[in-house]
Amino acid sequence: MTMEVTDSAPVPAAGRPQRVRELAAERIRLRGPLLPILHAVQEEFGWISQTDIPVIADVLNLSVAEVHGVVTFYRDFRRDPAGRITVRICQAEACRSVGAVELGEHARRSTGAGFGETTADGRLTVDEVFCLGNCALGPAVQVGDKVHGRVTPARLDAILGEAR
């Protein structure tokens, strides 16, 4: 749960509100359309901007606070742009039993980015994740949509080298 005060009103990117409105309107007939809409916006733009929220709220006839509350509740919804490539390192129990914590520390040393951070060149965003369903072949790491199993520090460097 995050609390924040937004001081100056952010300005939406040109054309974005119209497109967000379309994405929302296309899904309005679904039962419980908010999550599908947020996924669609994030899929298209890579993140959910503060300026998208009133647009979605308007289409769904919800309060801005309600939509804001949903966006901030879920880990998936990014509220600022990510790097070109996202790397998620599993930190759950099964992966911990085979060195996931050490792998996370290695990632921080070799990329300079800790969990939730983007490298200075804007290329990589590194994050933690709790279980990718590959618990027998850990440590598991997801780069973009692809999951890698049995990732050693050396393999992580190789995978990231290729991805960059």
Binding site: Y74, R75, D76, A92, A94, V129, N134, C135, A136
Partner: protein, 511 residues
């Protein structure tokens, strides 16, 4: 034409199955051999992935694990004819491997065997028999068949599925729902994912039977965003099922109307809790609802709703096809049928083991799992996900049985078993249990939201040697408070891993 099988399961792909499949197709082209590479689910022998199987007159012969660069050599040694006995990767007929032979695969019978995209193969391998039989019965008869099978929810709590359905059937409303809980957030569990990737039609069939039994017209699968391959597999299967008349209006000419949609989660562990899942499906924050009312009476959008785990629903077709008695013949005590156990973590032979309840923890970890992957002695296992207890090897004779586990202060949960070797620091694992709870708490009640944060601090003081004795008492007190004062099992069960770690591995806490 020779058929060669390579898994398209996420776990197999994570260690190179796609590359292996491509190399085999290329090698076959070069050799001018008439080969079809079929992408299946996984057999669940994950230490053998990428596993290659070749159809021969003697059955499917396996090779594994096969690295992409080994493919050309294996093909030269006769892989496409099932030959190459002297090669290291040669395994012989897969069905004859001791690891497969010792299992009783009912729910997972087709996984790793069939092409999960092929509705034709699904029907050829006994698919739809359960639904066809159910449609000849009355809804109440279907419900009673499920009650008689003894099937208990595989999602964790072990509540009898048939009893839940009876409540929904009895609720009068023109709109009812079937919701499949495919959130599978527990570490060490991956059976839901493998089932959906490896045999999605069985889930669709199970949900359709549920809909018929309780009088529901709409179904939702709440599938976690961390599983893009499963989302793709199930989406494809739903499209195919609609084309074939297995979903939609007048299913199989029976007059039944039922359709299914997938809803993708957004990275919140608590959304696996059923009421939180319903809130999330409704487009809200995943905050747990107080019960009563139970979802069976007031569930999704306030309507009567069946909420079941993937495996519970995927087992229904087998039960209906072969009858309740055949299913209930497996198992022990009140834990009937088979369960899909998942071996993960630091284990030599990790994967999926489907056997009757009653098999011991030691048989699973040592006989199937082969001990630790590192070769060091096994020290601890966590059973039942992040909210499950840590057990020492001294308790390896515990049978997998809901009641026996509860009596030992542990839980079977979703059947995930995570193995740790001697290098594990159990105080660190207890700390992580609190940290995870603090991170994933929905925030509705104080014992969970604040208690977990205090728990981390308390363990830090204990391991730093600050007032150790007093802080251990404080920890105990905190665990009592969370157990008794939390609204749901997230806060209520977090003390389980913590307390079991202190009890069995006290020396890691310096006491």
């Amino acid at each position: 034409m020779t058929r060669v099988f390579v898994s398209r399961d996420l776990a197999a792909k994570s260690v190179g199955a796609d590359e292996v499949a491509e190399r085999i197709a290329a090698a076959a082209r070069t050799a001018g051999a008439d080969v079809e590479v079929v992408r299946t689910g996984t057999r669940g022998m994950l230490w053998l992935e990428p596993l290659v199987e070749v159809e021969t007159p003697e059955g499917r012969v396996g090779y594994g694990p096969v690295a992409p660069e080994e493919v050309d050599g294996l093909v030269a040694a006769g892989l496409l004819d099932g030959a190459g006995r002297s090669e290291g990767a040669y395994l012989g007929p897969v069905e004859e491997l001791p690891w497969m032979k010792r299992q009783q695969r009912l729910t997972f019978g087709r996984v790793g065997v069939v092409d999960p995209r092929s509705a034709t193969e699904y029907e050829e391998h006994d698919g739809l028999q359960g639904l066809r039989r159910a449609l000849t019965m009355t809804p109440a008869e279907v419900v009673e068949e499920v009650v008689d099978s003894g099937l208990r929810g595989r999602g964790g709590a072990g509540f009898p599925t048939g009893i839940k359905w009876r409540t929904v059937l009895g609720a009068e409303d023109e709109l009812k729902f079937v919701c499949c809980n495919a959130d599978e957030g527990d570490s060490g569990t991956f059976a839901d994912r493998m089932l959906i990737e490896g045999d999605p039609f069985v889930l669709i069939e199970g949900m359709t039977i549920a809909a018929y039994a309780v009088g529901a017209s709409e179904g939702y699968v709440y599938l976690r965003s961390e599983y893009p391959d499963a989302i793709e597999a199930l989406t494809a299967a739903i499209v195919t099922a609609r084309d074939r008349g297995w979903l939609g209006e007048d299913i199989l000419g029976s007059g039944l109307s039922f359709d299914l949609q997938i809803r993708v989660g957004a990275g919140a562990y608590i959304c696996g809790e059923e009421t939180s899942m319903l809130e999330s499906l409704e487009g809200k924050r995943g905050m747990v609802r107080a019960k009563p009312p139970i979802p069976a009476l007031e569930g999704l959008f306030g309507k009567p709703t069946v909420v079941n785990n993937v495996l519970s629903l995927a087992t229904i077709p087998t039960i209906l096809a072969n009858g309740a008695a055949a299913y209930a013949a497996y198992g022990v005590g009140r834990s009937l049928g088979t369960s899909v156990f998942q071996l993960g973590g630091n284990v030599a032979r990790g994967g999926i083991v489907e056997t009757a309840f009653g098999i011991t923890l030691g048989e699973l970890v040592n006989d199937f799992g082969g001990g630790s992957a590192s070769g060091q002695p096994v020290r601890a296992v966590q059973v039942g996900g992040p909210l499950g207890a840590y057990l020492p090897v001294e308790q390896f004779d515990l049978p997998m049985d809901y009641e026996a586990f509860a009596a030992a202060g542990a839980m079977v949960g979703h059947g995930g078993i995570v193995v740790f070797d001697e290098s594990v620091d159990m105080a660190a694992m207890a700390r992580f249990a609190f940290q995870f709870c603090a991170e994933e708490s929905c925030g509705k009640c104080t014992p969970c939201r604040v208690g977990a944060v205090r728990g981390v601090e308390t363990i830090d003081r204990i391991t730093a040697g600050v007032d150790r004795a007093e802080n251990l008492v404080l920890l105990d007190d905190l665990c009592d408070l969370m157990t008794d004062g939390s609204l749901c099992a997230m806060g209520g069960l977090t003390p389980l891993p913590v307390r079991s770690a202190v009890r069995h591995f006290g020396k890691d806490f310096g006491s």
